[in-house]
Symmetry: C2
Subunit: 468 residues, 2 copies
């Protein structure tokens, strides 16, 4: 039989089991953080109706959508297929909230950790199938600004628990930005949007390039306005005091800008009250967040020692989440962590965090058929008390079994053969320090439990760690 | 703006948050069971190359595949799209093992809990996007029969922990079946397969219908052979003693059947040694498991009080998992739980299990702006000690806040306003019993921790429960 080369498409990050354990620990940490702030889990199907997915954004997004076709429906003669894969978790959230509006409790606090799909051109570090971890709160008719601040606290908790080093959540405000543009005579929505799109590129292009772009195309600014805007938006700060000073110093002369400034100040005050340390917040007036649906607070988060990684947790406020699917007014605020890309970047930088991973804890070895019943019974007893135990099921050399335990990261190896069998005892080897001891068979479980009390093992209890 | 009706395609099970919590608890229980037996987690992409997915099975499966097409590649003029969504977790496992063969430790024990996709005709209780929970062990060159037995023990552990009532894992063996058919003069592979396909329908059709089918079509059996086969395959048993008697009583007259009987006996003996209780195992010679790749042990699992639900955990042994992708010989054994369908059926039957779900534990109420800083600080302190806490962020009537806690299943409500504020105290209401008590502010955390010690809360520590 000819053999087909086993492979996956580019843009997919498939992990080996030991990598998967760490990635799972990262997702579990994020999930525990979301839950500690009272967010409820939801999941939505990967496959949605195309018309539902494609109302919101056109252009770029639509070019990246993966369409889905059952065999019988191939070749539709040019019509767009009825189904497609979600490309983010925000559009499905909007559809979910509109569809289940009457069954939900508002403000609706949900988190969602699932894969999304984008038909991007393959490129190093760009993924076509990847995890997003989203937390959002959606209000009915209204949603206070304190919720925006809480998102900063959630990000702070999650990133601290992930142990990725120092980081900063940098905020801005779309009303403040638009007010500033209005002050420069740019008042039309579309022209403001065009200018914001260019501003958003300031972290990837030089100020000169952005300035040139502001003078051409849809922006068509005069040289003085372009320069003036770039000068104003160059402002940034760290911490509550410096930020308050910065915001107060802005010479704003229109209501929109003032409203933005006041809202941003409220958000920062509440973040402070929620215990977010000053060094982890700041303001950067050049942050625009390209997505059109943001209307108030916007924010990005960067690892201070790894600026090249870019924002790892971004989001903001949208005044009307689900306007395409319901006449209800549903304002919201939320953010997203691109977990697959984050994991990949940390791995590339050799900065993967040391989270407690769930591994098998005990290997019960087997060297002779005459020990099988005893070995199986030991495994059964340990499992009954919550231990994660692999039993070697085929007799073989002990050296190979130790090697297996070592490769799989299993700490304890239980030996039952030879002299142990005749004396109703077991030997227990601790691969962490190489020590081996002989114990009466009946003392094995109590001994392991005592060791466990001394250094607790990971068991999904990551959410017991100290946090915000 | 016209509003689009929010909806998902038929064949999708989307859950409300409180349902999602229970479904997540079910998956967590399955996962903990898999981990307690030393299985390692893997995940594979939902999107695979079509040629990889479609090597193994033709016909039915291919008609149910969802193909995936990026916008730019629509209209390929009749050619099959390059990409498709996985329809099970076994083909991706085969591809994964072949692709990463040199990085894996054999026997490779993996579990995988992910969604799969099938373009089925919509039908009540049939899903197009659903979770499967698979555990498999794959050997290199060889894999002992004790692994088959361990799968029975894993199923026993998982189903007992799920708390779904009494159940039974019913086994059979393809070699035994094929040997019996050979004894009836049906020796050719294809004719055996045709007969097994009809036998497999015995749980859905009457013996008369199956008998008629055996006489026609690809089977073309004489009336006597058809009747004889149905009589032999009518044998079933429960428990180790009865099963041993049954197997011994079969008058087998060819080596293949004898080999099957011996293997099945070994599997049952090991399952017994692993602590699987007699009432949860049995043999049913009419179980065939249609999938062509099974070559040895096959098994199904039924809830004894809910026979209508059908098999909820099925699997078996395959002699060569990844022959399409590698020349290595990789035998395996494993099983699958269709979690979405199981959840749906239990919900329909009003038999959803009472698993510990992860909910928010504390709601910190807010009735006046003057209490905000104190309320946020209380929430911060409780979270720092692992509590899951929602803070009400908009001042409002207390009655509405109590109602919210009640609807969201939150047990404790903390009140900080009024007299509490002036006396540095808080009031704590336990919605479980309606009791409310006043505490000094500093005693809140110790009091909650004391209550927690009395009745531990769910925190992903389901795997601490007593198990096999």
């Amino acid at each position: 039989m000819p053999v087909l080369r086993p492979r996956t498409m580019p843009g997919v990050l498939e992990l080996l089991p030991e990598e998967q354990r760490l990635f799972a620990a990262m997702l579990a940490t994020v999930r525990a953080g979301f839950e500690r702030f009272g967010f409820a889990p939801i999941e939505t199907p990967a496959i949605e109706y195309s018309d539902i997915l494609l109302t919101k954004q056109g252009g770029e997004t639509e070019r990246q959508v993966y369409f889905v076709t059952p065999t019988g429906a191939l070749d539709r003669g040019g019509a767009l297929p009825e189904l497609a894969l979600r490309f983010d978790l925000t559009v499905p959230l909007a559809r979910y909230v509109a569809e289940h509006e009457h069954d939900l409790v508002f403000p609706f606090r949900r988190y969602q950790i699932q894969r999304v799909y984008r038909g991007e051109r393959p490129q190093r570090g760009r993924f076509r199938e990847f995890y997003q971890c989203d937390a959002d709160v959606v209000g009915k008719d209204r949603l206070g600004l304190h919720h925006d601040a809480e998102m900063i606290a959630v990000i702070h908790t999650v990133l601290r628990d992930l142990g990725l080093g120092t980081f900063r959540v940098t905020l801005n405000h779309r009303k403040l930005l638009r007010g500033i543009l209005t002050g420069f005579g740019i008042a039309e929505d579309e022209r403001q949007a065009a200018v914001l799109r260019e501003i958003d590129k300031l972290d990837k292009r030089s100020p000169e390039e952005v300035r040139a772009a502001l003078r051409g195309g849809d922006c068509a600014l005069g040289d003085q306005a372009a320069g003036g805007i770039l000068t104003v938006l160059d402002a940034r700060s760290t911490g509550y005091t410096e930020t308050t000073t910065l915001l107060a110093s802005l010479g704003l002369n229109n209501p929109l800008a003032n409203e933005g400034r006041e809202e941003l100040t409220t958000v920062l005050t509440t973040a402070h009250a929620l215990g977010v340390p000053p060094e982890t917040v700041g303001v950067d007036l050049a942050i625009a967040r390209g997505l059109d649906y943001y209307t108030g607070t916007v924010f990005e988060t960067r690892l201070l020692d790894q600026p090249g990684i870019g924002s790892i947790a971004s989001g903001g406020r949208y005044e009307n989440l689900a306007g395409h699917y319901t006449r209800s007014h549903l304002p919201g605020v939320g953010f997203s962590i691109g977990a697959t890309r984050l994991y990949w970047q940390l791995r590339e930088a050799k900065l993967l965090p040391a989270l407690p991973v769930i591994t098998t804890e005990v290997l019960v070895a087997l060297t002779g058929e005459e020990d099988r019943a005893n070995a199986l019974d030991i495994a059964r007893e340990l499992r009954a008390h919550g231990w994660r135990v692999e039993t070697v099921l085929e007799t073989g050399k002990l050296a190979a079994q130790f090697k297996r335990a070592d490769r799989l990261g299993i700490r304890w190896v239980v030996l039952t053969g030879g002299e142990e069998r005749t004396t109703a005892s077991v030997s227990l080897k601790d691969l962490k320090n190489g020590e081996q001891r002989r114990l009466p068979r009946k003392d094995l479980l109590p001994y392991l439990q005592e060791q466990h009390r001394k250094s607790p093992r990971a068991s999904g209890d990551a959410d017991e760690a100290g946090t915000i």
